[in-house]
C-alpha cells in the first residue's frame, strides 16, 4: 500500500519534506517510548527489591530475581488466575454459542417477527452495566447467586450477547443464501444447516468473537468487584486490588502480580492480531 497522506511523489526532493518526515518519525518513536516504557518498567520492577524501587525509579534490576514473581503467584495470583480462567472460558462458550444461535435465527431461519427481535437484541447495546448495577445486586441476591461464579458467568453472557450477536449476524448476512436453499432441497433441517453449513463458514468471525470476549472477561472489573467477595471467588482484576491492599508495602510483589496478569492477554493479542483487528473493525463500522 503506498503512502496516502504524508509521502511525496518519488523523485521530488524537498528539504522541508525531509524535515517533516524526520519530525514525524521522531514523534512516532517518542510516543512508542511513552507507551511501552511504563509497561517495561512494571515488569522490571517485579525483579527489583523495595529499596531499589524507592531509591531510583530508573535503575535496572541488579539480577533476575524471580522470588517476587514466585511470591506473587503463591500468595493469591494462582487462585485468581484459576477463577478468571473458569469465568472467562464458561462465559465465552455461553456467549458465542447463544449469539451464534441468535444470529442464525435472525438471518437464516423462518422465525416470525425478525425485525422486532433484531431491534430488541441490538438495542441492548445501548444499555450500560453501571445503570443496572443496583437492581442486579438485588436480583442476584434474591436468586441466591450472589458471590458465586454463576453470577459473573450469567452477567458476562447476558451483557455480551448483544454485541457478539451483532458481529456474527453481520457476517451471516453476507453468506450466500443459495447454500441453505440447496441444503433445504436435500431435506436438511434448520439444525443441520446451522451445524453443518453455517457454523463452519463462520469460523473466522467466531474466532474474532472468542478473542474479543476473552479480552473483555479477563479484564472486567465492575461486575467482578460488586458480585464477588472473598479470596477464592475473586477474578484477577479484583484480586490485584486485594494484593495491593494486603502487600501494599511490598511494591515488588505487586508489580510482579500486575505483570503476570497482563502477560497472557498481551500474548494473545500478538498471536491473534488478525482476528482481533477483524472483530474490532466489524464491531465499529459495519
Amino acid at each position: 500500500m503506498s503512502a496516502p497522506a504524508i509521502s511525496r511523489p518519488a523523485g521530488e526532493v524537498d528539504v522541508w519534506a525531509v524535515i517533516a518526515r524526520t519530525f514525524l518519525l521522531a514523534l512516532l518513536v517518542c510516543l512508542g517510548i511513552v507507551v511501552l516504557y511504563p509497561l517495561v518498567w512494571m515488569a522490571l520492577n517485579g525483579f527489583k527489591d523495595n529499596s531499589l524501587i524507592f531509591g531510583d525509579p530508573f535503575a535496572l534490576p541488579t539480577r533476575w530475581n524471580w522470588a517476587n514473581y514466585a511470591q506473587a503467584w503463591n500468595r493469591g495470583v494462582r487462585d485468581y488466575v484459576a477463577v478468571s480462567l473458569l469465568v472467562t472460558v464458561a462465559s465465552g462458550v455461553c456467549t458465542v454459542l447463544i449469539s451464534a444461535w441468535t444470529a442464525f435465527g435472525l438471518t437464516r431461519s423462518r422465525m416470525p417477527m425478525k425485525p422486532a427481535v433484531v431491534g430488541y437484541v441490538l438495542g441492548a447495546l445501548m444499555l450500560s452495566p453501571t445503570v443496572a448495577l443496583i437492581p442486579l445486586v438485588k436480583m442476584l441476591q434474591s436468586l441466591g447467586l450472589y458471590n458465586t461464579y454463576w453470577a459473573l458467568i450469567i452477567l458476562y453472557t447476558a451483557f455480551r450477547v448483544p454485541f457478539t450477536t451483532f458481529l456474527i449476524r453481520a457476517y451471516m448476512l453476507d453468506l450466500p443464501r443459495d447454500l441453505d436453499e440447496a441444503a433445504t432441497m436435500d431435506g436438511a433441517g434448520e439444525r443441520q444447516i446451522f451445524w453443518r453449513i453455517i457454523m463452519p463458514l463462520c469460523r473466522p468471525i467466531i474466532v474474532s468473537c472468542v478473542i474479543l470476549h476473552v479480552l473483555f472477561a479477563w479484564n472486567e472489573y465492575l461486575f467482578a468487584m460488586i458480585f464477588t467477595s472473598g479470596a477464592n471467588m475473586q477474578t484477577l482484576p479484583v484480586g490485584l486490588t486485594s494484593i495491593m491492599a494486603k502487600h501494599g508495602t511490598n511494591y515488588a510483589v505487586v508489580f510482579a502480580a500486575m505483570t503476570i496478569s497482563a502477560l497472557p492477554i498481551v500474548v494473545i493479542f500478538f498471536a491473534a492480531q488478525r482476528y482481533f483487528i477483524r472483530g474490532l473493525a466489524e464491531g465499529i463500522g459495519k
Binding site: W41, M111, P112, L125, V131, P135, I277
Partner: protein
Amino acid sequence: MTVPGPMTSGPAAGGASLAGKRRARPARTWPSFRWVAIAVIMVGWFVYYPIVDNFIVSTTNQDIYTGEVEYVGLDNYARLLDDPVVWTSLRNNVLYAVISVLFQVFGAFLLAAIIEGLQDERWQRFWRAVYFVPSAISITVTGLLFYFIYQPKSGLLDAALVALGLGEFVRPWLGSEHTAIYAIIAMSQWQGFGYSTLLFALAIQKIPRELYDAAILDGAGPLRRLWNITFPMTREMTGLMIIVTITGAFQVFNEVMVMTAGGPNNSSQVLGTWLYQQGFIQNDFGYGAAIAAVIFVVTLLTGIAQLWYTRRRRVQL
C-alpha cells in the same frame, strides 16, 4: 465501560427484509423462534428489566438491613440537584469527554494518518500494534501502574521531571484536589488512544488510492491531501468515534475507582463512582439508583445519536 471498549455500536434492523425481497420464502414458523429464545430471555431478564427496576428503586428509600422500603416519589432526584458532589462528578465526566475526544478522536486520527503515510507496510503494522498494547491490558493493571507512576518520590513521573530539570512541577498528582482528575484522564488517554488509532487506520485503508494519485497529479501537498481527502473520507468514522467516546466518558468507573476511588475530598468523583459510593458504601440504594438514572439518560441520548448516525450513513451508501 471504557475497557478498550470493543463493546460499541450497533445499527438495528434491516437483516430480515433483505431475505424477503429476493424470492417467496416458505411460511414463517414459530418453532424457529427457539434459535433466539435464550438470548431474548437473558437480555430481557438481566439487561432490560434492571433498567426498569432502577427507576422504581430510585423512587424509594430502602433500608438494606431491615428490608423496609419506603416510597418517596422524586425526593432522590431533588437531592441530586442539591448535592455538590453530583455537580463535581458531572463536571469531571464532561472533562473526561472533552479531553478524550481531543486525544482519542482527533489526535488518533492524525496519528493514524501519519502511520498510514509510512511507505513500509510492516512498519505500519508495527506501530499500530505497539500503540494498541495498553488497550489490551486490564484497567486494574494500568490503573495500579499509573498509581505507582504518580507516586511522590518513587514514582516515574516525578523522577522524570527532576531528571529533565523540571523539578518545580513535582507534586502529589493523585493526592491533590487540583490534579487528581487530570492525572486519571491522562492515564485513560495513554491507555485508549491506540485503540482508536487502529480503527482510524482501518478506515483510512479503505479510501481508494486513486483519490490520492489524482491529488498528487494536481500538485496537492501532504497537508492538503490530509485535509481534502483523508479527513472527509473518514468523516463517518470520526462521527461514530466522537459518539462512542462521549458515551464511554459518562460510563467511566474503573480508572477512577482503582486510582483514587473519587478522592481526595471527592474531587475526582465521576457519576459512576459516586453511584457506587452512595449505593454500596453508604447502602443508599434509592439515591444510588437516582444517580444511575442520570447516567442512563445521558447514555441513552448518545446511543440514539449513534443509531441515527449509523442509519443515516446507511442511506447515503
